[in-house]
Symmetry: D2
Subunit: 399 residues, 4 copies
């Protein structure tokens, strides 16, 4: 670690670029970290926007040439928040330049890309890799992971995972999120990837089979937008040109799966769950207990403990940042003074810094190998939906 | 017990007459009781309505003369559901006739009446008395009582009791519930009495002082109704005559009180809590734990147990009819197949039957002496609101 | 209708026999009905138990011979609550005897039986048939049906239906509910049937395809019980003989389906959802709005109305028995004085009586033809789980 | 505004010093503000701690001499987060130096101090004053304020305000928060002040009378701590010396009050509400509607609208940062990506900046005159509890 500082090169300045900048800015102010996170270089394509962004967030340097930027020998960590179809090229270059690499989720736009990235990471023995499945660092989710690990749930029978949004009504125009070329996939990679990772993380099990899947594009054509949209989930674009274009991604992907421990799991990712603006959650039921989390009630983890006297048994709503032993709690505000969405990124920046500084993260961060397994499930679900059949994950490994 | 049957004479056939008839009809079908509850005689003033009611509910006899009816030597239990200002006369006569007496709440329209009734009950050594504070028999409330008794809450610091309704908007006409003459009081006796009893029942403590109180009539005049209204909380009357009359009761009574164990308590009874149609509840906080109940979520008791490891501590929502050891659970439907409002009356009829048959009730039923203490608190709060000063309960006993 | 009375012959005296007896006892006391429901004859196999039951509930006659009982010319309605594998024989005989028939759900143990029953009902032109999918008569569910019908949801995108119980842990012995011979199926027919009906009823759409399904027996062997168990969901049996026997039914059935209007639907029925004792519910998301119901919060229907100004939009928790125009509300207690589980049966008995008396039910009651469609879905899901492939409902109709 | 920048001098570096530093750091990164907030000087007593703090947070200068620091002509805004008994001296000096002043709540330790500060602010015509009642800037609270202002609630009947914490069990030692000298008051000034302000802010009414009040010190003696405690609500101290000292502040203050529009209000502030770690909330019921907020569910405002068709009426849970027209929503993350506790401070820093830059704040910020009215209510409640009588606010103004 050069002078106990980690010099970061961040690529991308949209929604995620902002969330990561904020994370690097704040991690060191709240956590006692083994190294200083230095906001060294920000990279983006649009020079004008870039300069404003760099100044606002305090990046020391701003570049429109990522190839140049990542070659800089002072850079330790390259953080990639570009569209998914750009991940591979940048990540491979960064690994070849000997950098540590953090990459936004999903790992790649295709399983092929993901495999190449995973293999490159394996070879780059001095580089550490990280994938921003940031919901792992919601305190309640991290606590759920720990409770399962401690054996409090026992053999798991059911997993119910969902990521429900509702912004994609028929009047929303054809923003980049509806384009396969730009976004890689629709709800599946955007939302489904999060809950696949969350289910794997909390249960400690792998998904071995997609039993059945459906993928639909409810609104097949949308009004074209004339210029690129900016910011927001739905791109903020509201006025269209009148002409229509084809939507090339899924509006929802829903599937039934088998976990390695025998549990049955449902996964539902959609942009058409009217009334749920950002409901990302999971329930698991096991022999000894059950857990329930949903991001609409971010501060809480619900726990049902079968070992409790039946007179007193019930779901306990645990405020997951209440006690000093709760994940990330001691870094933040007093008891029950809530964290918000952005803190998942800050907690992750802190954990990345700990790992690079030789310390343990609060809970495991997925590396490329780990995130590749999530990518396999994405692929299996898509094949299952397309070919209308069950798909074992092991099939994907044969060829 | 004559022939192992309890012959009931019920006085009143309105809302409560119906609830009690249903209770007598059903108790023996669900509970294994030491005696049979026989629906012997129903008494009311309106002959035509009475006959229809008696037939519908299966009462063997119907009478418009309560004095005659309660003298019948076959009657064992007289149950009084008349307006509060009639309680005293009927109850005294029934006690003098050697009957057991059940009386709707509050015990009486005035403290004076209540005192006379209590004293009469004391003298009538062969008679047992019961007051229909039926919310004690909500499974969750009965469970709360038990948990406190088991020492799970410890010294109590706070009590927060409320009974919130919202039916009395400015357009509701001047039905009987707004008349002091007919109803005795407004929200205070109707709703406040329930939560005073509930607080005393659950905590096992007495209220020793009303520290401050307010009583308001928000809508001072209402449209007159030409004929007597029937049924429903608000009497069902919707069309008025155009002329207005004075409201003579309180729309809300809210007070601050001290419990005998040192806790501070708030009591709020109102018909103007827009949005809460029948929210009757209580929270207590003690050294070892806390309890929370509200009738809008009738099946559940929330319990916070301070002895739980702080990593796992939180409010547990206990489904209070889930386990065989839960109050009344084994008489009813399987686990988590909910009871409703009417079951509190059926549970109470069963408990009255048990007591008269020499068995223990599930949880204590208030007798006149017990209910008299609730009446004292009602009185103290009214004095406090009127005279704008604190009132100790002991004051009421001096004179 | 003979003398404006409906003479009922009820077959079965277990859990459902009790629920139906209670329904016949109470319907006429709360509803103004076009005919009197007369509790004429109760039929069961165990003479001793039967006599106690008949006396307790006030059945005029008790018989151990159902064939004889249903031939009685005075009987108008035969109500069948036997194990599913007995439905066909009794129902056919009752139809042939010219009776109206009510049958517990699911319609039959096999699709073959169900088809025969449906066809027999079609031929018996003077008989009306009813299937006890009683959750349709939860006020919130009936309200949901009406809101969809009024067009408040619009085109439906997602359906999420679940019936989650947790009583079947590894220590529960081999009671009748685990035997295919006695119970027909496990969670699928017991719980899944309810939510298939509920989804069809609320959406007004049919299920056209099972895309993928899984059915598991998590606990494959259980301790044998020496005598038949009685009552309760889990049969009440707790002590076993030590020896083990095979479980022959499914512990859960979970499937992915397509609705006729294009929506994607998940159905999950299980006895292994630790922490959920009787959570039966459904969510639907449409173009104009969304609805959410679950039996753990029985009194409420949640509604999201997309037409509301976005500043004020959110899920509204509608107390579904609050207003006079709410289903069944006017028959019962005042505003927000909750109904419970049993009221769904009473409401249904009232509606059956209305239909037989020539009036309209509050909401449609499924007849055999309607219930047959639910049975088809049960069958398709089982085939899908067994053969590991998608199954169109139309396939079942070809052969 | 000197060069369109606001140079801040912050006094205090404990819990609030950290919250304010974070606010100044972030406001400009998320909001488009009329001036730059410059973190110029941090002042505290402990040199060693101060330097670490200043470096961590990026303060340009650090001083242990507040008198010197605030004289600096480059400073525009002095922000005071010292213990309450120090507010007056520093604030007066700052006003005399011609600075704008922001002061933590409550305005002062005594009504006398508050009056002097208010009067000084009135005289200092070029200075603007602000008091950090930061909960006004919870999006849901700001929205509640607006809905009342728009007339959606109508005449208000009831206000129910509470701030419930539970950290002060008998084992907590005698930290500074239990000392009147250091803290000014206990729960009353710490928690009660927030809800008095919140009730005034949301209703737009003043409190005119304290009808009755109680103030208790449940635990009268606590174990002494040998050195000053640091951070956290309870000071983080866990080990005591064995010796005990007297608690000189209130553990709870609960009172009944009258609002200027006629509503009755309850206020409850306590550190002994076992199970509630930071439950700060308010309910109001009016003729046209009702509102409900509590900080345990920070993102939501519940609204009951009486004008809705009664078939559909119910409490609507509004996600208060969902729509672009929601307060502060457009500055932050996409729809329903929650803000946390700290954002109330950042939102306030942004609003202070707007006011100093000549723009409108999102919702009004209390100045000293406004905050003085909250102080009067604090005083009246204390008098009421001590003298056991009702206290009109107007009494306090007579002299």
């Amino acid at each position: 670690m050069a002078g106990q500082s980690i010099n970061v090169c961040l690529i991308g300045q949209k929604f995620m670029g902002r969330a990561h900048s904020n994370a690097y800015l704040k991690a060191g102010k709240f956590f006692d970290l083994p190294a200083e996170l230095v906001m060294d270089t920000i990279v983006a394509r649009n020079r004008a926007e870039l300069d404003v962004f760099a100044k606002r967030w305090g990046w020391k340097n701003a570049s429109i040439d990522w190839r140049e930027a990542i070659k800089n020998p002072l850079i330790n960590l390259v953080d990639v928040t570009t569209p998914n179809n750009k991940h591979r090229e940048i990540v491979i270059a960064a690994l070849e330049a000997g950098k540590h690499v953090a990459c936004e989720k999903p790992l790649a736009a295709t399983l092929e890309d993901a495999r190449i990235m995973r293999d490159a990471a394996k070879k780059a023995k001095k580089s550490k890799t990280f994938v921003w499945y940031s919901y792992r660092r919601v305190p309640a989710v991290a606590l759920a992971h720990r409770l399962v690990k401690e054996g409090r749930i026992g053999k798991i029978y059911h997993v119910r995972a969902y990521y429900l949004q509702d912004w994609a009504g028929p009047n929303v125009p054809l923003v980049w999120r509806f384009s396969k070329e730009q976004a890689g996939s629709g709800s599946h990679g955007d939302l489904g990837a999060h809950i696949i990772d969350m289910a794997r993380f909390i249960t400690g099990e792998e998904i071995t089979e997609v039993i059945g899947a459906a993928q639909d594009t409810f609104i097949k054509e949308r009004t074209l937008v004339t210029e690129e949209s900016k910011g927001g989930i739905s791109g903020g674009a509201t006025a269209g040109s009148g002409k229509k274009g084809k939507v090339s991604v899924d509006d929802h992907t829903t599937f039934l799966a088998r976990m390695s421990g025998g549990a049955i799991a449902t996964f539902e990712a959609t942009r058409f769950a009217t009334g749920y603006h950002n409901k990302n959650g999971l329930e698991i039921h096991g022999e000894k207990g059950a857990l329930r989390f949903n991001f609409e009630d971010m501060p809480y983890l619900d726990f049902f403990d079968r070992s409790v006297d039946s007179k007193l048994a019930g779901w306990t709503r645990i405020p997951a940042s209440r006690a000093p032993e709760h994940p990330y709690a001691s870094a933040w505000w007093p008891t029950a003074h809530h964290q918000g969405y952005e803190h998942t990124f800050i907690n992750m920046a802190a954990d990345i810094c700990r790992v690079l500084g030789g310390e343990q993260p609060e809970v495991p961060i997925p590396d490329f190998e780990d995130a590749y397994k999530t990518q396999e499930v994405l692929e299996a679900a898509t094949i299952s939906a397309t070919e209308r059949r069950g798909v074992k994950i092991s099939e994907l490994r044969r060829g």
